[in-house]
Amino acid sequence: MKILLVDDEIELVSAMAERLSLRGIDADWTDTGEKALAMAEECEYALAVLDMKMPKISGLELRRLLSGKYPTMKFIFLSGHGSEADYKAGSAEATSYLIKPIRIEDLVEKIQEATQ
């Protein structure tokens, strides 16, 4: 099982992928929605962890594009805001919603729950 992490904060998303790999979770990462769509063409991802606010293609829009092409893919949203509007949008469209900064154990738990 492979997962995809997408966040425009490169240092955040690369460190997160490294920490997940140390916990036995195979994670690719990228910093834009466009690159994420291209990567999903090349590799089968069981789950995508998406930042909600990204340039050009937002996390919500990326989720719609990915789930349209890959209906079994699961989603977890990350948000820096924790605003009520983000929470409602994120909760409605994803398996889970986490507010940054996150605990890696919480993310691992959410990934395991979503992919079981």
């Binding site: 240092e11 460190a15 920490r19 340039p55």
Partner: protein, 212 residues
């Protein structure tokens, strides 16, 4: 400069918008530092299990933390400068400093649109104005320009000083004619700043009376 309740609300909205953007960026910085600290913790656990750490990996994490702290420091300094721009009603304002601060405050907005802000040539110039409102006006002009721009385009801002000081905002090589909206014109009028379309480069020229 007299202000009405409506003007105050518009100014407050601008301050709120900047505060929201800054707080979002600071949250991102915390998130990066949090992951970097988590990686160090992971490396420590690895060594406890007898797995050696490559010094380069630790150095990379340390550099990341230092870089994020510098990023956060710059953001907080800019926010502090904006907050203090409300200290006095009217004051002698260094226009290059005000323009530079506005560009810094608008950078995240530009990033989200995948565009760039570039500070071009700036002659030294000062004006007697309400600093916060000038920053609000410049930010508003930048926001109007960004709405017209395609991804990867650059917005050029410069300041020329003669008898008056003129801040020029243009999108070189794109053939885009910028038009001020009513809110921008209204604020400019209150500040005695003229806003005109530049027929040569299609940009906006904001002209103020300068003082030595």
């Amino acid at each position: 400069m007299s202000s009405t309740a409506s003007d105050n609300l518009i100014g407050l909205r601008f301050f709120g918008k900047i505060s929201a953007s800054v707080s979002h960026e600071i949250k991102n910085i915390f998130a990066v530092i949090n992951e970097a600290a988590g990686l160090v913790e992971d490396f420590t656990l690895m060594t406890e299990k007898g797995m050696p750490i490559e010094p380069e990996r630790l150095k990379r994490v340390a550099n990341s933390i230092q870089g994020q702290i510098q990023r956060g420091d710059a953001i907080v300094k800019n926010m502090n400068a904006l907050a203090h721009s409300t200290d006095e009603d009217i004051q002698k304002v260094d226009l290059v400093e005000a323009l530079s601060l506005t560009v810094s405050l608008a950078t995240r907005m530009a990033d989200m649109k995948q565009t760039k802000l570039e500070l071009g040539d700036c002659d030294p110039a000062s004006a007697i104005v309400h600093k916060f409102s000038v920053i609000q006006l410049l930010h508003g002009a930048i926001a109007i320009a960004l709405e017209s721009m395609a991804p990867h385009a650059t917005l050029l801002l410069s300041l020329s000083a003669g008898d008056a000081a003129t801040i020029s905002i243009s999108i070189p090589g794109q053939g885009i004619n910028l038009k001020p909206d009513d809110a921008l014109l209204c604020l400019a009028q209150q500040l005695n700043i003229s806003v005109a379309s530049n027929e040569i480069n299609g940009g906006l020229d904001l002209t103020l009376e300068r003082v030595d």
